[in-house]
Symmetry: D2
Subunit: 390 residues, 4 copies
């Protein structure tokens, strides 16, 4: 199978498999974005006079067809294709002959890969935002429940709280996450096309056309920045996702604790619980445990990318390829955990009686001290007085 | 020494030392901020009628004096004080008697600690931004040097680049970092005062007064959010700092490579190089190696805080205290590395002759292919033609 | 499809898919080991009188058949099976009826899963050791090449070294790794069978039989230890693998530097280099870059598991399942990188002329100083003398 | 102040402070070990005829005096000394004149630093082992308490367990840790002396003398290995410490949960609990929270060192210096947490009544199912029967 960089020599089979890795599988998700970026690139070549109107039309049509095929599961990137970019170029060449090769004028695989990746990331951030908003909606319903609830510090009862305050804290956390993801989208939304292999191109290219076509916010000032942004921008995304997962981890930790029969504040319905192979009585909160655990998956991927970038000089390195998996898998994990948490929150049973019963007198010690304060006693004295009597 | 939470019983000495840890040392940097937050808190107590004008005046004066004392190195937090908050309250009580105790009305140590910490963080972000801007200024001077330079991909000569493109890439990276730090400041700039131990207070407090006094952007919707924001907001800061350090790491890696005599693109003046105890000829770039290495310090601290927050339910936990060191040390490391890099960039010797000499013919292979393209040959064919002749 | 823990109620479809995750795919590699452990367990049930000789014979035969089927790619764990354990039990029940169910007597899925996993890990450690030994063999051939080579400190020429010293350093590193992996195998080689869900079983079981059958080194003292060893033992394995990858990372970093034409100490043959889609002249060392980069994959997975285990109390948690992927993928990555490095080392071209040419005079400054020492000058003085003249 | 590598030029003051960092503070702990290694080195110089008996005697005496001075707090490494090695050589030169300089014959600062560091690490491993053994002793007393206790899986009551099984699990974990630390000691116990800056020395040295004097297990085969072992060996140590901290984290997590009044299985005496500044009733388990949290400190330091070593070629780099802090701080944190846990375990109050009361009927469901099994019912059927009735 022809490679974009085919040499007369031959890369050994095992070496090829090693360098391709799982890319051909991951790249399935990039097909759509590579085609879109290629159409924008072709439009630029048209403007530059490198493609005729007719040639542009044929290329745009063929690329749109690939998008449609892929949507129906009929365009599969194979291991021998190496990646989606070669698969697409081979397809174009098969149907359009030399014209299929012409699309690679004025670009390198480095800017091509990056353009597809950033478009993918932008769409995934959008999808993640939708899931966060749906979870916020669910939490707002929970926050509307009127019930007292014990507040804990140091894992010990502290002061009276409420279901409203508790749920609102997670709404607020999620609203921070919305801002963080939107900011991340803004930062990464730069146009890699026209930066070539990272040092520009030996002919004048019209980056403004591809930027506008693909709705990128701006162009890079230096072509070197495009490749130097790799891993850094990906770590920004992974950090944002790890924060979302951190919030879900805390919410799951609360729910795992407060659904213990020893607390009984909340319950999960049976359809959200699994059984045990040896203990007939068990109803296990596996869903919550896996949401909790997946924080480590995303945070671990962030660390992975931060190790990957250490001590690398400027310019493209093949090591960059290894960030594709962590980014794709972290988006998938975060979105599926958000969806599962929406399911849990919407189905959560709130046991008001248990919540009330658990609000025992020691929770009100601070209130008692402040009652003395209102009568004129300095707080430190009131504190000691209540302490001695407790 | 009296503790804010003193009980009649006594914490064992070794236990106390363990729980205090290095806090009393770190807290030296928080004295100023705790006093400022306390003045704002006192102003609120004044508005609420808990303090008289006279009492407020005495407290504000005493707190301002502590700030001044600390500035002259005359206010030291001791191990037996436990932390700066107790040291300050003990000082107030010593000089103002019962009035010194009254300041703790309507707050908990939890919101007090957090207020001081967030004010500290805000100031440190500001200081970090100043250093970034100074480095950008230095890099702009470098970018104004007109010289060709080889561009590398895969650690192999790729295409011609220039000192301008190279330096501009780091300017652009630093400009991203400016945005990231400013966004981080906006996110963390919320008012913890009035949230008590994390569940509000048993009396109505006027959070708007403290918010405005301390120039916080907004109040938390739920008091629980204040404590739940701990570690999360700190990890946002650490992430931003790790990105700056990542950029410095790449810049240092470039300089370590390109100052090798085998390249000779750049040189460091003698006052930036150290010697060897055994090899008389050596001039070692320790400064650059330490800047490079300190990326791992900050990225490692980010991971530390991300492990710390795993699987903790809502509410305050003493574990949170362990994020103070990582945050303070990461700010210090980042700022000192920025300053060292400014020194390096301002003193960097650019060896134009070597840069030109290293731009050997293979760097221009792509340009040669495109020359054929301009004559009408499809790029893929031109590529193969040049390849065969190289 | 029946689950080992089937309840009358039904887990929702999306919840089931979420909880299964990629387990059904990963578990394909565990089929063999689960069958082996089940045969040992059946032998114990035979000894205990729970199975008759005939029953044991049927079960052992059916389980051996599954191993054979799987070896020929004819036994596939499907998503609706959930995991290999259910797939195997369903298979047994289909062919052996009630007898198939009887095998689950005196065990829980918790000890069953763990037994298969530990047998898998033990085999993988063995396979990793074979690859390390093959690399050592290759390095020994390199070490037999007689050639001077510059030794670097601080990325600056320091003192004369040799290809022999250089290659021997990696042999020595790999020999440490052999010891580390063998020690890891010894630590993890304990028998989980008989520990049930982590609290033993309500009937006396003969753990010594399963231990001896499966060649485990010892039994756990407390059944709780079996589940508490999860993540810990896996992190021991991941740490060992990350050390191997760290050594490969250093070797790859050396080779990436020393194969740069600016050094030219070594070269890679064409069949180990890839080309560029835009630059006709390029021969890129992608294989070495990916080996270098995969250090971060394994080190990142170690961190992932270390985050996963934070703050979890004793006993089984579903979160544990998330360590299966990191362990399996890290073994695969390490073994494939070892194999690729063997390919590289065996094909490496050593350019003696360049090595000699690069041993310029400053490398010998220390030797010159010691020549003066031998004539009676104190070293510090000799050092200064040579320094002044250099 | 004279530096071991003093040049005629002068390193700028701010650069010097940056490169020294906190080394002069950390190095206080290395003084003793540097002196011991220097005495062994001097003995070798004596054997080699470089030092006379008299000279050796003077040096050994002066070095022993430094050890004694340091033990009484009278030998302080100052910032202008840079590190302990210079401080010691300056002291020797001050008292012994030229003889003080002669000690640096046949060594480099690189092997000198490493020798002191490894001796320190070896002693610290020994001290850590003593603390582990003391904790095991405490846990054995706990394990001798006869009481039932509920066993949990998925944070839900699962099957009956006992205080004995629970405590024994931690004894077993600690016994693994003993093996791991002992193995780590064996791996790192190699003699760095004689490897110079990492490429040997220009004169024949008798490494066997220093090895035997300092009780190192073996010499390195290649001098390059000594410097390449840096960060790798340190990460082995940090990994071992992180495993110990992981076990303490689990034990603390159990205790934090089981001392909650909602469980009441265990209690802490007052002298191990702290109060709250706002809530008079609180008794907080800060000690346990800090032990739990310090797992992240050590695990984070391990990650730090693993990032630090990424992508560095062979040979000494100044970056290595940055591992000194993580290693020293992790030893200190682990030992102090072990000591605190010994305090907690020895003082732990076991509430048998609550333990018994919490062993409610559902815990015995598996036992009931097995009672049916003993009467001849297949386990799967018994399981379903009990499930239906629960």
């Amino acid at each position: 199978m022809a490679k974009l960089w085919q040499t007369s020599g031959n890369l050994a089979k095992d070496i090829e498999e090693f360098t391709v890795g799982e890319d051909y599988l991951l790249d399935q998700k990039l097909v759509k974005f590579d085609c879109k970026a290629s159409i924008a690139h072709a439009k630029m070549l048209l403007k530059m006079g490198i493609l005729s109107s007719e040639e542009f039309g044929s290329l745009a049509k063929a690329l749109s067809e690939i998008i449609a095929l892929e949507g129906r599961g009929k365009f599969t990137v194979k291991q021998e294709d190496e990646d989606c970019h070669t698969a697409i170029e081979n397809h174009l060449t098969k149907y359009l002959g030399d014209l299929g090769k012409k699309i690679h004028t004025a670009r390198s695989r480095n800017d091509q890969v990056l353009a597809a990746l950033r478009l993918f990331e932008r769409e995934q951030i959008f999808a993640t935002l939708q899931s966060i908003l749906a979870l916020i909606k669910g939490l707002k319903k929970t926050a509307s429940v009127s019930s007292i609830m014990p507040g804990y510090t140091h894992m010990r009862k502290a002061m009276p709280s409420s279901v409203k305050l508790w749920a609102t804290a997670f709404i607020e956390a999620m609203e921070d996450d919305v801002q963080i993801m939107e900011f991340s989208k803004k930062i990464i939304n730069k146009n890699p096309l026209g930066t070539g292999a990272g040092y520009g191109l030996p002919l004048e290219v019209d980056k403004e056309t591809t930027r506008a076509e693909l709705a990128f916010g701006e162009n890079f000032m230096s072509p070197i920045s495009a490749q130097n942004s790799r891993l850094k921008y990906e770590s920004i995304i992974l950090h944002g996702l790890s924060l979302i997962m951190g919030d879900l981890n805390k919410l799951a930790s609360d729910l795992l604790l407060f659904t213990m029969p020893e607390f009984g504040f909340f319950s999960l319905p049976d359809e959200l619980a699994t059984g045990s192979s040896i203990m007939p009585q068990k109803k296990n909160p596996d869903v919550l445990e896996l949401i909790r655990g997946k924080y480590s998956v995303v945070a671990g991927f962030e660390t992975q990318v931060k190790i990957l970038m250490a001590n690398l000089p400027s310019g493209y390195h093949r090591d960059f390829q290894l960030s594709k998996g962590p980014v794709m898998k972290s988006f998938a994990a975060t979105q599926e955990c958000l969806k599962m948490m929406i399911r849990v929150i919407n189905a959560l049973i709130i046991n008001k009686k248990n919540l009330e019963k658990s609000c025992t007198s020691e929770l009100f010690a601070t209130q008692k001290a402040y009652a003395l304060v209102k009568k004129g006693m300095p707080f430190r004295e009131a504190y000691r007085k209540i302490k001695e009597n407790s």
